[in-house]
């Protein structure tokens, strides 16, 4: 009756308010047989749309609405494979200049479209921006032909529709082509129509009130039933018939006709080459006499056989080639003589680590035989998609490797995988609140109080933050509705953390490729799921902060102590290292440093690398929701206390596969093993079950596996239905994210190595962590305080002693004992200014403030920043060191001035004596520290407040001696806030005072009562009950009943005003490329939590960025 040939999804980015799957599902419900997706200059949603349409049984037609250089639109639809290739090239071309400085709007020249017309059908474009002039239409007709050019008629119920359609009809007659009706759909349901209006305003950076001429003005852009469309076009029945005829002609199927091949897939000798490579390495890894040699050989033969049968040898060779490339890059980046040269350029993670072929070709560093790793998940004979190989690299090597891969395989044949950041609550509140014209201050208050990761519930956030009912105001009510509707829709195109795809034929024939934000990189328009569905070979080149930190650390140790460390040969049974792990003394190390990991370490008490393999995998949604964590920990404690304890198994067939994890499912591969052992699944079937579980869109597929599982369990093991269901539910519980064992082994090893470095080379390790920020769970402030408590001295930045980066301080002949914070740590410090300062210092240390001002080559803002941070204190006599004096004196010196040719230096005239100034001390000094460097090295904020706290407030040191169940009041700085989705609404706060950290447990009811304080106050006073259970292994928790904010001492707070204004000036002059990481602005992720202008009376504005409700500091 009618097929919709013009439809936008949210992948038109702010010009479409529904996901492709929502459009496909609604179209099927409404009775459509075919639907086209035609996003603006984008095919980002096409693979998702193809998959969704197939699953609901409608025909997916692919296309795009492309923007021409003059701003007009053409709707292009793919008829056959050549058309898809041409469309990909057209869209690629449209984005080619997107990243130029001052880029032109995304658009493509008409000539380019005309030259790529083959296999495409052209519709003349939408009612507002379509091509209407006969001259252009004639050119289109010449290129596309009368069969493949259609004049588009739309009926958006605007004032002059009918007249416009009559004119278009006349053009069609004149040209001898047919008309086709389209709906220009922008939403799948009425509930999204307001969101589309809001998106239009957002796209034009204006408000709904001001954007009336830009909006559609009604809701006819919602997908309507075919019958409705027929009646809408009652004047043009032939244009309706044409939709169906055209839809039938468009035969391209994206799920089958893509024609992608990876490099090496066509090499007929690849099997032999791979086998030779493996045998060559085999004798090195498993020399004669090695106890695993026999087993390893048969495993190798088996793997090579499976690889050959799947035709995947080329795939492994390609990866090896990539690693070789990485090796070259590593030598260049690290320098040939660096201590880091002993380290491999990167390491495998994920399930590929379980393969002996990967181990022998250098793709993995874990011996799969020694570690008893199962291959099935990575590689099995029923494999339908290419396996993943994930490689972790230090950040600097990764940054260099990515453009090198583009060079190696050609810019047309390689690209990074895209990612689509989606609307989340806070961003939605800020952006949509502005569109609705709500007061900015109130929007910000609501956004800050909102649960950043909640699926919906903006209404509650608004009510809590504003203290009034949402239903009292239309605009706030709409904000809540719009936020809920927008949640999860893609916001824009971005870059995946490291996935790359390479191809034998030009990639731009498979998928549009667009320039990435970083120069030298380019992105394909598909995300990782779409790339996997397309069968693209994806190589994950991931940057891992901890690998960078570990490498830096090894380098530092070589420099400071002259020791060369090969991390693969350190002792793996070091008592001191395991003692630290068992005491949860792990802040700063890889993976096992988080609050939850620490709590669990005290109970599991890992003793070997195998234990650590389990440990890193345990605090994951999969094991937690699968109900594995508590039984595992309890059984581990029982086994330790009672050697005769017999681990219970639900069924004897599970014992061999779950023995290591004491009868619980901790690893992803155990899901496969259980399905195989208990329900008789083949490896391919088991992997199919795992995949079905991990993707949301496959409820029907999961149900089919469910039936097979129950039936298989009965047939294989004679299990009754009740038991089979119980074990199936264990597996289903795991469906969230979990580690494969191989991944656990790789991460467990790095966790051990980093702990070993922390235990034996504390200052170097701390220094590397500070230099690699942002990474890990804790901000640098917390890391520094903890190091101070362990006896490592952390020294403030100093104009004559600091380097640009943080550095280790050692006296000759003695081991290092201290870390000096670098000048690059100052927020807003510009790298070139700091470099100029270093260069000036090489001619001799700065002797006075006047000397500094005249020689430093830096402007006044940078000098003031240094003064505020205390970096110039040492230039004053020891008894007169004070930041206010420094500022006063610097204020009357004449620093060099910036002139076009560089910095014009001033004369080093001594500054006069300052008047009597009140020294900057106590609270003010601490706030100055946080403002300038994001950390304080003097007294802890709590130590400064301690004397003003009520007398019954205890410190964390006091908790040691108090009894279980004691009621306590405790104050501290919040260093982590989490509300894990798996914890039934409980919020965990990690509180720090001058003596240590303690875990606060905030039950849901308490959280609801004190939500604003819990969510946003950095300094709090909590009242609760002490919990010290023997089963917790010495861990102390406080169960909170009430919580309030701690305020700064009032008398001093007012003094901070000027400081903030000045710091803002200094920070305002910062350019991209400012030296070093700036921890105070580092948190957030997704740009959502970027620091808003600080409330200048307040510590809140400068408190360090922390792990906040799983929003994450970036790793």
């Amino acid at each position: 009756m009618y097929a919709e040939l013009h439809c936008h999804s949210a992948f038109s980015f702010l010009d479409g308010a529904s996901l492709p799957q929502e459009l496909a599902a609604t179209a099927a419900e409404l009775g459509y047989d075919a639907l086209a997706l035609t996003d603006h200059d984008s095919l980002s949603g096409s693979m998702e749309f193809a998959q969704a349409a197939a699953s609901v049984g409608i025909k997916a037609i692919h296309g795009a609405e492309v923007t021409l250089a003059d701003g007009r639109h053409l709707t292009l639809l793919v008829q056959r494979a050549q058309g898809w290739r041409n469309l990909c090239r057209i869209v690629t071309r449209a984005h080619a200049r997107d990243r130029e400085p001052d880029p032109p709007p995304t658009s493509v020249e008409l000539d380019f479209v005309l030259a790529h017309a083959e296999g495409l059908v052209c519709l003349s474009g939408c009612a507002g921006h379509g091509v209407e002039d006969l001259r252009t239409l004639r050119r289109l007709l010449a290129a596309f032909g009368p069969e493949n050019l259609k004049i588009e008629l739309q009926r958006p119920f605007q004032r002059h529709d009918r007249a416009s359609n009559r004119a278009r009809l006349a053009s069609a007659r004149e040209l001898g082509v047919r008309c086709v009706a389209t709906g220009d759909v922008h939403a799948h349901a009425y509930c999204r129509a307001p969101l589309q209006d809001a998106f239009v305003a957002l796209r034009h950076r204006t408000t709904l009130d001001a954007s009336e001429p830009l909006r559609r003005g009604n809701r006819t852009h919602v997908l309507a039933a075919p019958a409705v469309m027929v009646s809408r076009f009652e004047d043009h029945p032939e244009a309706v018939t044409e939709t169906v005829e055209l839809a039938e002609r468009l035969s391209f199927d994206l799920t089958a006709d893509l024609g992608y091949r990876y490099p090496g897939s066509e090499d007929e000798f690849s099997d032999r080459k791979l086998a030779e490579l493996c045998r060559h390495a085999f004798d090195d890894r498993y020399p004669e006499g090695n106890r695993h040699r026999g087993q390893a050989l048969s495993r190798l033969q088996e793997e090579l056989r499976v690889i050959a049968s799947l035709g995947l040898a080329g795939f492994f060779l390609l990866h090896r080639e990539l690693l070789e490339l990485a090796r070259d890059v590593a030598v260049e980046v690290r320098g040939p003589s660096s201590a880091r040269s002993l380290l491999p350029p990167g390491r495998g993670r994920g399930s590929s680590v379980s393969s002996i072929v990967c181990y022998l070709t250098g793709l993995s560093h874990i011996d799969p035989i020694e570690n008893q790793l199962l291959l099935g998940r990575f590689l099995n004979e029923e494999l339908t998609a290419l396996p993943d190989i994930d490689l972790d690299f230090p950040r600097d090597i990764r940054a260099e490797l990515i453009p090198r891969v583009h060079e190696r395989y050609g810019r047309e044949r390689s690209a990074l995988v895209a990612a689509f950041p989606t609307f989340k609550v806070r961003g939605a509140i800020r952006e949509l609140g502005k569109v609705l014209g709500l007061p900015p201050g109130e929007i910000e208050r609501v956004a800050r109080a909102a649960d950043a990761w909640a699926r919906e519930g903006a209404e509650e956030d608004i009510e809590v933050a504003l203290g009034r009912r949402v239903s009292d105001s239309s605009r706030w009510k709409w904000l809540s509705k719009l936020c809920d509707e927008a949640w999860g829709l893609p916001r824009h195109l971005s870059q995946h953390s490291g996935g790359m795809i390479v191809s034998t034929q030009p990639l731009i024939d498979c998928c549009p490729v667009v320039p990435a934000a970083m120069e030298g990189r380019q992105l394909c328009q598909w995300d990782k799921d779409s790339c996997a569905d397309a069968g693209f070979l994806k190589i994950d080149v991931l940057g891992l902060g901890m690998l960078s930190a570990v490498e830096r650390c090894v380098d530092q140790i070589a420099q400071v102590r002259g020791e060369s460390i090969d991390l693969s040969r350190i002792p793996f049974d070091d008592k001191a290292t395991y003692a630290a792990i068992q005491d949860a003394d792990t802040m700063g190390v890889f993976q096992i440093e988080s609050r939850a990991q620490m709590a669990s370490l005290r109970r599991t008490r890992p003793e070997t690398l195998d234990d650590l393999t389990i440990q890193v995998a345990i605090v994951r949604p999969g094991p937690i929701l699968g109900g594995a964590v508590n039984p595992y920990i309890a059984r581990r404690q029982r086994v330790r206390e009672d050697p005769d304890y017999v681990v219970p198994y639900d069924h004897p067939s599970l014992e061999p596969v779950l023995r290591d994890t004491l009868g619980t499912i901790i690893f992803q591969d155990q899901v496969l093993e259980v399905a195989m052992a208990f329900a008789g699944f083949s490896p391919g079937e088991a992997e199919g079950l795992r995949r079905a579980m991990s993707r949301k869109r496959s409820a029907a597929a999961i149900e089919a596996y469910h039936r097979r599982f129950i039936e298989g369990a009965r047939r294989t093991n004679g299990a009754d239905e009740e038991m089979a269901e119980r074990i199936y539910s264990m597996i289903m519980g795991f469906s969230g994210f979990g580690f494969p064992k191989a991944h656990g082994a790789a991460f467990g090893l790095l966790a051990y190595q980093s702990t070993w470095l922390r235990v034996h080379y504390g200052p170097e390790f701390l220094c590397s962590l500070l230099n690699e920020q942002p990474m890990g769970f804790y901000p640098s402030d917390t890391l520094a305080h903890e190091a101070q408590r362990r006896g490592i001295e952390v020294l403030a930045p100093d104009i004559n002693a600091s380097q640009i980066e943080c550095s280790v301080v050692a006296e000759p002949g003695k081991p290092p004992h201290a870390v000096r914070v670098g000048l690059g740590y100052l927020n807003g410090a510009r790298r070139e200014e700091m470099q100029a300062l270093m260069a000036a210092r090489e001619e001799g240390p700065f002797r006075s403030l006047a000397d500094l001002a005249s020689r430093a080559g830096t402007g006044r803002p940078a000098l003031e920043l240094l003064a505020w941070a205390g970096a110039c204190d040492s230039l004053l006599p020891a008894d007169a060191q004070d930041r206010r004096t420094v500022l006063w004196q610097l204020g009357i010196t004449a620093p060099g001035e910036r002139v076009p040719a560089g910095t014009q230096l001033s004369l080093p005239l001594d500054a006069p004596r300052p008047p009597a100034l009140r020294p900057l001390a106590g609270w003010e000094k601490m706030v100055a520290d946080y403002t300038t460097t994001g950390l304080t090295l003097g007294p802890h904020p709590l130590a400064l407040l301690r004397s003003e706290l009520p007398p019954d407030v205890v410190s964390i040191r006091d908790l040691e001696s108090l009894r279980h169940e004691t009621r306590v009041r405790i104050g501290g700085l919040v260093v982590a806030r989490q509300r894990p989705g798996t914890a039934k609404g409980i919020v965990f706060l990690l509180l720090e005072d001058e003596f240590g950290t303690v875990n606060l447990v905030v039950p849901p009811a308490v959280y609801e009562r004190f939500r604003l304080v819990v969510r946003s106050e950095p300094l709090i006073l909590a009242e609760g009950r002490l919990e010290k259970l023997p089963v917790a292994g010495g861990a102390i928790n406080v169960f909170v009943h009430a919580v309030s904010a701690l305020d700064a001492p009032l008398a001093e707070a007012a003094e901070v005003v000027d400081l903030q204004a000045r710091a803002a000036t200094a920070a305002g002059s910062a350019q991209p490329g400012a030296a070093g990481a700036s921890p105070a602005t580092a948190g957030g992720g997704d740009g959502e939590d970027l620091a808003a202008p600080a409330d200048i009376h307040d510590f809140r504005g400068v408190a360090p960025a922390i792990q906040n409700f799983a929003g994450g500091r970036r790793r």
Binding site: F157, Q158, A163, P194, L208, G217, R475
Partner: protein, 81 residues
């Protein structure tokens, strides 16, 4: 895409409509033909949202009139730009 233009203040009108809600008589004038129909659904975020179906018609005596039906209240108004 051209959006609806602002028009003068609407005045209540006596309109007789047929079963498909098409106006057949406006005041004393009989509608001869419909030139255009359009729809305005806007200002939904405010306390006074708009939902109107506009008709531009030609009457028997040759007048071009614009009337709309307020879809919320179900009442007819005339409006002239």
């Amino acid at each position: 895409m051209s959006a609806p233009r602002r028009v003068l203040q609407p005045r209540a009108a006596r309109v007789v409509e047929d079963e498909s809600r098409r106006p057949c008589r406006i005041g004393k004038q009989v509608v001869e033909s419909v030139r255009e129909v359009w729809l305005v659904e806007d200002r939904w975020w405010t306390d006074s949202p708009l939902r109107r179906r506009y008709w531009e018609v030609v009457t028997e005596d040759g007048c071009d009139l614009v009337v709309f039906r307020d879809l919320q209240a179900g009442k007819w108004y005339s409006q002239r730009d």
